[in-house]
Amino acid sequence: MQAEPSLYFALVTVLALLIPFTMHLFFLRGCGLFRETELLQKGVFFSVLFGLLPLAALCYFWATRVGSNSTTGVIVSMLYLLLVYILAGYVYFHFFNMSETARRVRLLIESSKTGTLKKNDLPRLYPHQDIISIRIERLTALGELRLSGDRYVLGNKALLLPAKLIFTLRHILFPNADF
């Protein structure tokens, strides 16, 4: 980056952006993996993780064939690529999650089928009880909730910190919002 990394570096960066989706497509369609409801989100996580392999190959290609002529330049360029890749993976994970879990997307898709939707039909098409049951099921499949007798307790706590962070930000942006 510091020397003249040329347009190849821009090209490598753009290719790095496409890796998470391509890996996900490969796992789902090519290998038939992660298709079960409880594995869908894990599938994206593993796609991003295994995408580090093609990313490493791209980095190697760039560093050995085209790369910067200083070691510092190569290291910083790799750091930039890794940062870009992690962000692309995070954005892709959220995009997939929206397609799977977002209430707004579900409502839009239901309305787009006919162009209009009677508001009174919403409880039938998208029952309030289902919204919560689906989420309890999903969180249990992810190991976030664990059933102990007839009660749910916290499982692996991986989402506890993000949950606290999200609600802290909500508190900062919307101090009067209902929590």
Binding site: M1, L7, F9, T13, L28, R29, R35, L40, T72, G73, V76, Y80, L83, V84, L87, Y90, V91, F95, M98, S99, E100, T101, A102, R103, R104, V105, R106, L107, L108, S111, S112, T116, L117, K118, K119, L122, P123, Y126, H128, D130, I131, I132, I134, R135, L139, E144, L145, R151, Y152, V153, L154, L159, A163, I166, I172, L173, F174, P175, D178, F179
Partner: protein, 200 residues
């Protein structure tokens, strides 16, 4: 100047693209908090796009145009088109990551709410019924419809024919072209992945 000090300077100089990309995002984030606390915009998605995408890109391009000529004497640093691309790409990705995380911040994601409620119940835990009781139908669906109306994704038409003149309850949701495009984009994406539509 020692070799160590020179090396540190070279490293910092090389890292400038990362620092500038992150810096642009942080400025946009601070503006976002200020705008939301002061104005509280109703069309939130439009404002997020303005604050996180339009302003940093516009600001950077103006800054480059103004600062560029002064750097020709060697006193400053002029960003090459590639530097500009890399800085703006990093800023765009950080912004996209935040914007994708924004809906749960705005709407109070039910899944995360369940996690916090179960965490507060400690070892005792919560029954499924108790978890269901946390949410009212208004919060789960009606408020989301309101957000979608504000963002121009749908319109709500009130049917004032017949009995509905009295009840005014029979409202019809009409999808806008913007909402239709988004719905079709997600439907196409799920078809490409060969997955059924998400349950929401």
């Amino acid at each position: 100047m020692g070799a160590g000090s020179r090396h540190r300077r070279t490293l910092l100089f090389s890292l400038r693209i990362i620092f500038l990309g992150i810096g642009l995002f942080l400025v946009a984030f601070a503006s976002h908090i200020a705008v939301w606390r002061i104005v509280k915009p109703s069309k939130q998605m439009l404002w997020l796009t303005i604050v996180f995408i339009v302003l940093p890109i516009g600001g950077w391009l103006i800054f480059s145009a103004v600062a560029g000529p002064h750097s020709e004497d060697g006193a400053g640093w002029t960003a090459t088109p590639l530097d500009t691309f890399l800085i703006l790409l990093l800023n765009l990705l950080l912004s996209a990551a935040y914007i994708m995380s924004y809906p749960p911040i705005q709407a109070g994601c039910p899944s995360l709410k369940i996690i916090l409620a179960v965490n507060d119940s400690r070892a005792e835990g919560m029954t499924a019924e108790a978890i269901h009781r946390i949410f009212s139908e208004d919060i789960l669906v009606s408020e989301r419809l309101e957000d979608m109306v504000n963002d121009g994704l749908i319109f709500v038409k009130r049917d004032i024919a017949g009995d509905d003149l009295v009840s005014l309850k029979n409202e019809t949701i009409v999808i806008s072209w913007k909402g239709y495009l988004i719905a079709q984009m997600f439907a196409l994406y799920r078809r490409i992945l060969n997955l059924p539509l998400g349950k929401g």
